[in-house]
C-alpha cells in the first residue's frame, strides 16, 4: 500500500474518532486541541477588594428551547464562558402541555450564609428552568453538567458547591482544559459556586491564603534537559567538525 492511500485511511479513522470524541466532550475544552490558553479577564458581579474590575459586568444568559429538543447547552458570554449548563433531552419535568422551557444562568449576589470550608472564587451562578416565566422544579431526571470557570489560573484545587436550603454542599468536580475550568454533574438546578478550599474563610480565624506549594525545581530540570540536548547534539557537532 502506498503512503497516500495509507494516509487517507488514517485520516478516515481519525475523523471517525474525532466525531465520536466531540460528540461526548463538554463544549468548553479549551484549547480546542493544543496551543497557548487565553482567557478574558474574569467579570465579577461584586469584585473582591484589591481586584482590578473588568470592563463589563457578567450578564444573565437565557435560552428558550423546545421540550423535545436534544441535548441543550447554555453558556455565558465570556471567553471561555464563566458558567455553562449542559442538559439532556427529557431531563426537566415540564407541566403537561408545555412545549418550551426557558433555561437561565444568572450571576447572583452572595447569600448571608457562606461556605465554611473555603472562600467563593468568582461569582455565584443561579441555574434555573422556567415555563412561561414560572420557575419549575429543580429536580432533574438525568444529571446536568455544570461548568464554572475560576477567576484565575492558579493551579490550586477548586471545589464546586451548591447552596441547598441555606447550606453549602460539595458536588464532585473535575478540571478541564487550561486548568481554570471545572465541571460537575448534578441532579438538581440551583445556586452553584467554585470554592477555593485552600483559603480559609475569614470567620474561621485563620487569615490569608495558604498552601502555595514549593516553587518547581525548574533550574535543575533545565540543566538536566540542556545536558540531554547537548548529549544528543554532540555526535552531530563532532561529525560536522570532522567534515569541516
Amino acid at each position: 500500500m502506498n503512503a497516500s492511500k495509507l494516509g487517507l485511511i488514517v485520516c478516515g479513522v481519525a475523523l471517525v474518532a474525532l466525531g465520536a470524541l466531540w460528540h461526548t466532550l463538554p463544549v468548553t475544552t479549551p484549547p480546542l486541541y493544543d496551543g497557548a490558553c487565553m482567557s478574558d479577564p474574569y467579570r465579577y458581579l461584586s469584585p473582591p477588594a484589591g481586584t482590578h474590575e473588568a470592563a463589563a459586568l457578567p450578564a444573565t444568559k437565557n435560552l428558550t428551547v423546545s421540550t423535545t429538543s436534544p441535548a441543550t447547552e447554555l453558556t455565558t458570554n465570556e471567553s471561555p464562558p464563566q458558567a455553562q449548563l449542559l442538559i439532556e433531552q427529557g431531563s426537566i419535568a415540564v407541566p403537561t402541555g408545555a412545549t418550551t422551557v426557558q433555561l437561565s444562568i444568572e450571576p447572583v449576589t452572595p447569600p448571608t450564609t457562606l461556605p465554611t470550608d473555603g472562600v467563593i472564587d468568582g461569582n455565584i451562578y443561579k441555574f434555573t428552568a422556567a415555563v412561561k416565566g414560572t420557575v419549575i422544579s429543580t429536580e432533574l431526571a438525568h444529571p446536568a453538567t455544570i461548568v464554572l470557570r475560576s477567576s484565575a489560573t492558579t493551579g490550586q484545587p477548586r471545589a464546586i458547591e451548591q447552596l441547598v436550603s441555606g447550606t453549602w454542599h460539595r458536588v464532585d468536580a473535575s478540571t478541564l482544559g487550561c486548568d481554570d475550568v471545572h465541571l460537575a454533574t448534578s441532579t438538581t438546578l440551583g445556586d452553584f459556586a467554585l470554592i477555593d478550599t485552600t483559603t480559609r474563610p475569614p470567620s474561621s480565624g485563620v487569615s490569608g491564603s495558604s498552601n502555595t506549594g514549593n516553587a518547581p525545581p525548574w533550574m535543575l530540570i533545565l540543566i538536566g534537559a540542556l545536558g540531554v540536548i547537548a548529549l544528543i547534539s554532540r555526535p552531530f557537532l563532532v561529525e560536522r567538525t570532522r567534515r569541516g
Binding site: 503512503a3 497516500s4 495509507l6 494516509g7 487517507l8 485511511i9 488514517v10 485520516c11 478516515g12 479513522v13 481519525a14 475523523l15 474518532a17 474525532l18 466525531g19 466531540w22 460528540h23 466532550l25 463544549v27 468548553t28 479549551p30 484549547p31 480546542l32 486541541y33 493544543d34 496551543g35 497557548a36 490558553c37 487565553m38 482567557s39 478574558d40 447547552e73 447554555l74 471567553s79 489560573t153 492558579t154 493551579g155 490550586q156 473535575s174 478540571t175 482544559g177 487550561c178 486548568d179 516553587a215 518547581p216 525545581p217 525548574w218 530540570i221 533545565l222 538536566g224 534537559a225 540531554v228 540536548i229 544528543i232 547534539s233 555526535p235 552531530f236 561529525e239 560536522r240 567534515r243
Partner: protein
C-alpha cells in the same frame, strides 16, 4: 519546508528513543517554567518551541523548499484545519466569530501559537516520524503514525490533563495522515496552526 534528515548526522541523534527523551525534557522545562499558568504562559511556550526545534536541528532536520510540494501541503493543511475547526462548531449552536482579546494581545498570542504548532509538527511529523520509520524494520509508515500520535498526546498531558489525551491522540492521527498524503510536514503544520488559531477568533 519538507522534513529531511541529512546523512551527515550520526544515528544517535536520530534514534527515536533519544528524540523522545529530548521531547520529554522540553515538556518538563515548559511545565516548570509555566508553573500554575500551564498552557497560559507564552514565555514557556516559546522556550518549549525553541527547545524542540533545536532538537530537530541536532537530529539533522533542515527546511527544504519545493514549491509544488509546499503548495500541495498548504492546500491539504487548510482542508485539515477546516475539518478540525468544524468538529466543535458542529456540536455547538452558540458559537460566533470575533476576536476574543484586544488586538495587541491577540497578535502576540497568535504568533506564539503558530510558532508552537509549527515546531511541534517539525519534531513529531517531521523528525520523529522519519526516525521511527527508519528504525522500524517493516518500514511501515503506520508504526510512525501511531508512535508520533501517542507521543503527541502524551506531551499535552501535563498542560491539559488526562481529559485531553484521547482528543489529542485522534488529532495526532489526522495530522499523521495529512503528513502521509502530502509527503510534507507543511500540511500538518498548517492544519495544526489553523486549528489552534481558531481559539482566538471563534467563541464556542
Amino acid at each position: 519546508m519538507v522534513a529531511k534528515a541529512h546523512r551527515s548526522t550520526l544515528p544517535l541523534a536520530q534514534s527515536p528513543g533519544m528524540l523522545l527523551v529530548g521531547i520529554a525534557s522540553a515538556v518538563a522545562i515548559r511545565t516548570a517554567l509555566a508553573g500554575p499558568q500551564k498552557a497560559g504562559s507564552l514565555f514557556a511556550a516559546v522556550i518549549f518551541s525553541m527547545g524542540i526545534l533545536a532538537l530537530g536541528i541536532a537530529a539533522g532536520w533542515r527546511p527544504t523548499w519545493s514549491t509544488r510540494r509546499v503548495g500541495f501541503g498548504v492546500v491539504m493543511g487548510v482542508i485539515g484545519g477546516a475539518v478540525l475547526i468544524a468538529f466543535p462548531l458542529l456540536r455547538s449552536h452558540t458559537w460566533h466569530i470575533g476576536p476574543v482579546a484586544p488586538s495587541g494581545a491577540l497578535a502576540t498570542w497568535s504568533l506564539v501559537v503558530v510558532i508552537v504548532a509549527v515546531s511541534e509538527e517539525v519534531i513529531f511529523r517531521g523528525v520523529l516520524f522519519n526516525a521511527v520509520q527508519r528504525h522500524d524494520t517493516s518500514g511501515s509508515a503506520l508504526v510512525a503514525v501511531c508512535v508520533t500520535s501517542i507521543a503527541f498526546a502524551l506531551v499535552h498531558l501535563p498542560l491539559y490533563g488526562s481529559a485531553a489525551l484521547p482528543l489529542d491522540f485522534a488529532v495526532g492521527l489526522l495530522l499523521g495522515g495529512l503528513r502521509l498524503v502530502s509527503g510534507t510536514v507543511v500540511a500538518p503544520a498548517c492544519a495544526h496552526a489553523l486549528a489552534d488559531l481558531s481559539m482566538g477568533w471563534i467563541v464556542v
